[in-house]
């Protein structure tokens, strides 16, 4: 209970009113404007979570998105969400948060026993431990690892919130609304370019809001306010707070992640919005992140980044301790000492690793009475659940002897700053090591490049490695001008703003404190708080032969999980470089991948959930089916009735009834999903002869022909009936799934190979409803509608005619996929439902019934008709299916012909189509394999065929199947064994695939 509120501080909060929230079951209060972290600290609690591996108690170390420790589970029930950073969670009335990785409580955690075993859990522990014996992998090791892995708990209920995307095009996008982003926006927009400015936090201004400074003679915060006003008045500027630049991708594509309702869940509207941005230029004004220092005990709650200590104080009015020791290797740390002292918080001393200390800021601190320990280091932090003091020693030593202990309850550490280069790097921007400032900065000569080959990302301000206010603004102004120029505009703002920068003494890079610390201290100095990776772990990895920083990351888990090493990466690779005896730039960084911080799954899905998760295609008669018992089957994106189930029936009963009704009376099928492609032109016949294996150019107008389409590699792709409409027009029917891709296939050949052929195509699939009337009484029903002569002489099998039925203009095709007398009637889609009902009325006397896709399948299988997707799978050629009769021998060429001449295609050993009659009333399993003698190299039974279609045939009263069998057509009568997955052996006899009406008499009825 050491952190507390400081009256009169807190730029972002409204201390005059209160907000009630719950943390780990305790009811606490904060203020509007607080983050969850500042509110919990303000309520006197520093511990907010436990670490992942050792379950060590942890408090926040940062105040922003880089936070690795203070991860909480937010909300309850259907709004439960794990792994949320307390430092970026805006406080609201009723917020409910629970700390993670602890049981039963934060203060007393049983898993903390792992910490006692730390010596036994070094880097690569899992890899080393869970190797042998191999038999343990699946049943013992994997369950153990799965139980141990993962941060937080997964939500179990359906998310009640909505999410959306928005597409936005702009000339220039600026990521980051600190002073660099604001200045870049002001300059860039002054020439008239479209500018989008995104800031991840709820506040403009970035670091100056806590650190102050003076710009153009004004306090920095006033300059920020004035700049915001100026930008808001510009029509060409769009600005968003709470919207993070999440990723930079190819060709100027960016993702922005906007959080709209996280702190106002009761308001209507989307919770998060994903901005899908196309931007000609991108300016990354993403600032910099302070680095921790590695000293023993640097993970004890109360040890924080110096900048975070300032943020909590200045922005939220929270002092993180009563006695705060500052430890630093650069001048910036003194800002924290000065700010604390000015707020009457005791600063026992500043420990500066530099033998000569710092510059003007140090002198200012000293003048305030703060002692400075030059050339000193923290040897270790004393304490367990909170900081009790620090032991100091010479920085340039091994830490074997501590000089003295200083009592304190918090430590503010500054290890220098790392520019946020993530967004620069996402799309390939390269970095350069700035040894003077000890940081990686964007290499302007190697930017990410866009479609035109030019660099499209410009870094600005601290993100470009500029750490002094004046330099930040000047650099940002230049980036704004350059971006404006790149989009063809001239910035009208010409003057760089003037800011007074305080001179700074050089930084002393410190990667371990004290510099020559032994194993004992290194094994207690944390690099990665979230994953419990210590300096000793990285050193061990190097000792074991890891040289690549990427491999070391995976081996040690350094920089993994939700924070992706925002605090740990540079320190980690410096330690690795040291262990390998090489320079830091030789080691390099791990790859920066989007998103910058985790974004919600909801934002990624956007609107695509619930009823608009995926398009569902409906036929014109969809609503009728829906109200008449349709058991829906997805066929691609279409929904087709599988069967129409009546009260008291099972689906199987319905299918059986529907099949019998077609065979014995008449049925009606919605065939609207079949593709209908009009092909017209002087070269249409020649073209279709290339598309189909059959000869289509010789088809007479008024006639129909069943056609096969192969891909260029010879495999059967689609089938359907082609009707010749007139001299230069054909109508090609495709399968349901084929309509779009067959149309695309035709256009591809026409546009890219035979572009001089005179052919137009039109995909008319959805212009027509198509209704099949099928069965021995089909003609009776249609003639009852009146309007057309449909007797066999007027409309013989495989012909079509235009006319009227029940007053509707129709085209009737006499074709059959069932073996019965059958008419397919095309009518304008808008008339489909009316004609459908008319046919049902007219057919009532004949007992007409609708039938679904399963009855259609059974009917076709009884006749041995193939189905694309059942008998074909992309490896089957028409010859395999006994369809040689449909392959023209007169044509020199068609798509797939050359491929079918290849040796393997002509091989007599290919599996070929046969019928299969199962013994003992069984219905074979779909896809079941027929086994052969012997075993293959993997010890599996050899196979000699497989089932491609299998049904119970109501007509035959037994199971029938089709299958592809080695040399099948020459093995009629042989019996094959099909071992079932149920342990039983199924046996079936090879027979002719035509099970019913072999003579075809019914068809021609």
């Amino acid at each position: 209970m050491t952190s507390r509120r400081i009256a009169g501080k807190g730029r972002f909060i409204d201390s005059s009113s209160k907000v009630a929230f719950t943390f780990d079951g305790r009811r606490l209060t904060g203020h509007p404007g607080d983050t969850l972290a500042s509110a919990v600290l303000g309520a006197g609690q520093v511990i907010m979570g436990r670490s992942f591996k050792y379950h060590r108690p942890r408090g926040p170390v940062a105040a922003g998105p880089e936070e690795p420790n203070a991860l909480v589970e937010l909300g309850q029930g259907n709004r439960f969400e794990p792994n949320q950073r307390a430092t970026t969670t805006a406080l609201f009335d009723g917020l409910y948060a629970t700390s993670q990785n602890r049981w039963p409580s934060l203060e007393y955690d049983i898993g903390g026993i792992n910490a006692k075993l730390a010596r036994l859990l070094p880097a690569g522990f899992y890899y080393k431990t869970f190797m042998y014996p191999r038999e343990f992998w699946k049943d013992i090791y994997e369950p153990f690892i799965r139980k141990a892995a993962g941060l937080g708990k997964a939500p179990t209920e359906k998310d009640p919130d909505t999410y959306e995307h928005v597409h936005y095009h702009t000339d220039i996008t600026i990521l980051g609304g600190g002073v660099a982003g604001l200045q870049a926006a002001l300059t860039a927009a002054s020439g008239g370019a479209r500018v989008l400015l995104l800031e991840q936090s709820p506040h403009w201004g970035g670091r100056v809001m806590a650190d102050g400074g003076e710009i153009d003679g004004k306090p920095a915060a006033d300059w920020v306010a004035a700049t915001i006003t100026a930008l808001e008045e510009m029509d060409n500027v769009t600005m968003r707070l709470n919207c993070m630049g999440a990723g930079v991708y190819d060709h100027g594509y960016l993702l922005g992640y906007e959080r709209l309702r996280d702190d106002t869940p009761s308001l209507p509207g989307p919770r998060h919005r994903l901005w899908r941005i196309r931007s000609t230029r991108v300016i990354t004004a993403t600032g910099a992140i302070e680095r921790p220092l590695s000293f023993a005990g640097n993970d004890i709650p109360g040890v924080m980044l110096a900048s975070a200590v300032r943020d909590y104080l200045e922005l939220y009015g929270v002092a993180v301790g009563r006695k705060v020791v500052v430890v630093t290797n650069n001048d910036d740390g003194y800002r924290t000492a000065i700010a604390l002292k000015a707020a009457y918080v005791d600063v026992p001393c500043v420990i500066d690793a530099r033998p000569l200390g710092g510059g003007p800021l140090m002198r200012e601190a000293e003048a305030m009475g703060i002692p400075v320990e030059r050339g000193r280091a923290i040897g270790k932090v004393k304490g367990g659940q909170y900081v009790e003091g620090v032991a100091i020693c010479s920085h340039d030593g091994s830490g074997g002897v501590f000089e003295r202990e200083i009592e304190c309850d918090a430590v503010a550490m500054s290890g220098g700053w790392s520019p946020v280069v993530h967004l620069w790097s996402h799309c390939g921007g390269k970095l350069t090591w700035d040894a003077e400032q000890a940081l990686f900065r964007p290499d302007a000569k190697r930017p990410p490049t866009g479609a035109d080959g030019e660099g499209f990302v410009l870094p600005a301000g601290a993100a470009d490695g500029e750490l002094l206010l004046g330099d930040v603004l000047g650099n940002a102004h230049d980036a704004g001008r350059e971006a404006a120029k790149a989009v063809g505009k001239t910035a009208k703002v010409r003057r760089r703003p003037v800011a007074v920068s305080v001179a700074q003494a050089p930084i002393l890079p410190v990667w371990m404190m004290p510099a020559r610390a032994g194993y004992e201290l290194r094994s207690k100095a944390w690099l990665d708080y979230q994953n419990d990776v210590k300096v000793s772990d990285v050193a061990l990895a190097a000792q074991e032969g890891y040289q690549s920083v990427e491999h070391t990351k995976r081996y040690t888990t350094l920089g993994m999980a939700t924070d992706q090493g925002k605090l740990s990466n540079i320190n980690g690779l410096a330690v690795l470089s040291d262990a390998l005896g090489q320079e830091i730039p030789v080691t390099g960084t791990t790859t920066f991948r989007p998103p910058y911080t985790p974004i919600s799954m909801g934002a990624i899905a956007g609107e695509a959930r619930g009823k608009v998760f995926q398009p569902v295609r409906r036929t014109p008669m969809h609503d009728w089916h829906d109200t008449h018992g349709a058991d829906w089957e997805p066929v691609g994106q279409w929904r087709r009735p599988y069967a129409y189930v009546r009260r008291g029936e099972t689906v199987h009963d319905a299918v059986t009834r529907e099949v019998k009704n077609v065979r014995q009376g008449v049925g009606i099928l919605d065939a609207s999903t079949l593709g209908k492609i009009l092909v017209k032109g002087p070269d249409a016949g020649k073209f279709l002869d290339m598309m189909y294996t059959n000869m289509m150019s010789t088809l007479a107008p008024g006639k129909c022909r069943y056609g096969l389409m192969c891909s260029e590699n010879g495999f059967l792709m689609d089938d359907g009936v082609v009707a010749r409409i007139d001299e230069d027009t054909w109508l090609c029917h495709t399968t349901t799934g084929g309509a779009d891709h067959i149309h695309a296939h035709m256009e591809e050949w026409l546009q890219t190979e035979w572009w001089d052929w005179k052919v137009w195509t039109a995909n008319l699939t959805e212009q027509y409803a198509q209704i099949a009337v099928v069965g021995p009484r089909a003609r009776t029903v249609l003639e009852a509608l009146g309007g057309m002569r449909l007797h066999p002489q007027a409309l013989p099998f495989m012909s079509w005619t235009d006319g009227q039925l029940a007053g509707f203009d129709v085209r009737v095709f006499r074709i059959s996929f069932s073996g019965e007398l059958s008419f397919e009637i095309a009518v304008k889609a808008g008339h489909g439902p009316a004609l459908w009902e008319k046919i049902l009325e007219a057919g009532a006397e004949c007992g007409i019934q609708p039938y679904g896709t399963e009855a259609l399948h059974v009917l076709r299988a009884e006749k041995g008709y193939i189905m694309i997707g059942d008998e074909t799978d992309g490896t089957v050629i028409p010859q395999d299916l006994g369809l040689n009769w449909a392959i023209s021998k007169k044509k020199d060429d068609f798509i797939g012909k050359r491929a079918q001449e290849r040796v393997h295609m002509a091989d007599p050993d290919r599996w070929k189509l046969v019928g299969l009659l199962a013994y003992d009333d069984a219905v074979l399993r779909d896809g079941a394999y027929a086994v052969a003698e012997g075993r293959n190299a993997n010890g599996q039974r050899n196979v000699q065929g497989r089932v491609t279609s299998t049904y119970y045939s109501p007509t035959l009263g037994r199971g029938i199947a089709m299958g592809l069998v080695h040399d099948g057509p020459n093995r009629m009568g042989e019996v094959l064994d099909f071992p079932g997955t149920d342990g039983k052996l199924y046996r079936a006899q090879i027979v002719d695939p035509v099970f019913y009406d072999k003579s075809g008499g019914r068809l021609h009825g």
Binding site: D250, H251, R278, T449, E712, E747, T752
Partner: protein, 111 residues
Amino acid sequence: MLTFRCPVCGVDAEETELSPGGEAHLKRYGPGSSDEDFSGYLFQRENPRGVHFERWRHAYGCGKWFHAARCTQTLEVFGTYPAQTTEPPQEILDTITKKRPGWTWRELGAK
């Protein structure tokens, strides 16, 4: 996510509006061709790190196929041109030579 300017309708289309069609300028071999020619046509594809010629279709737009010359490494687009040609236009070849001196692709480029 890539963008290409459709040379047919002039629209800057993004990848979600396009469908890819593999390598450009394949010569079709039909019946009567040798096994070698045919397998070259059907199966052998360039997979360069650098200059590449591809086919794309403006599927969610004008529906037309077009060709694109781009760098597979940097994703730079050297140009797009209509599909009704058996080889890239000279202008595109010149652009590539200027930007990638010494480039080769199948029989194109530096000798």
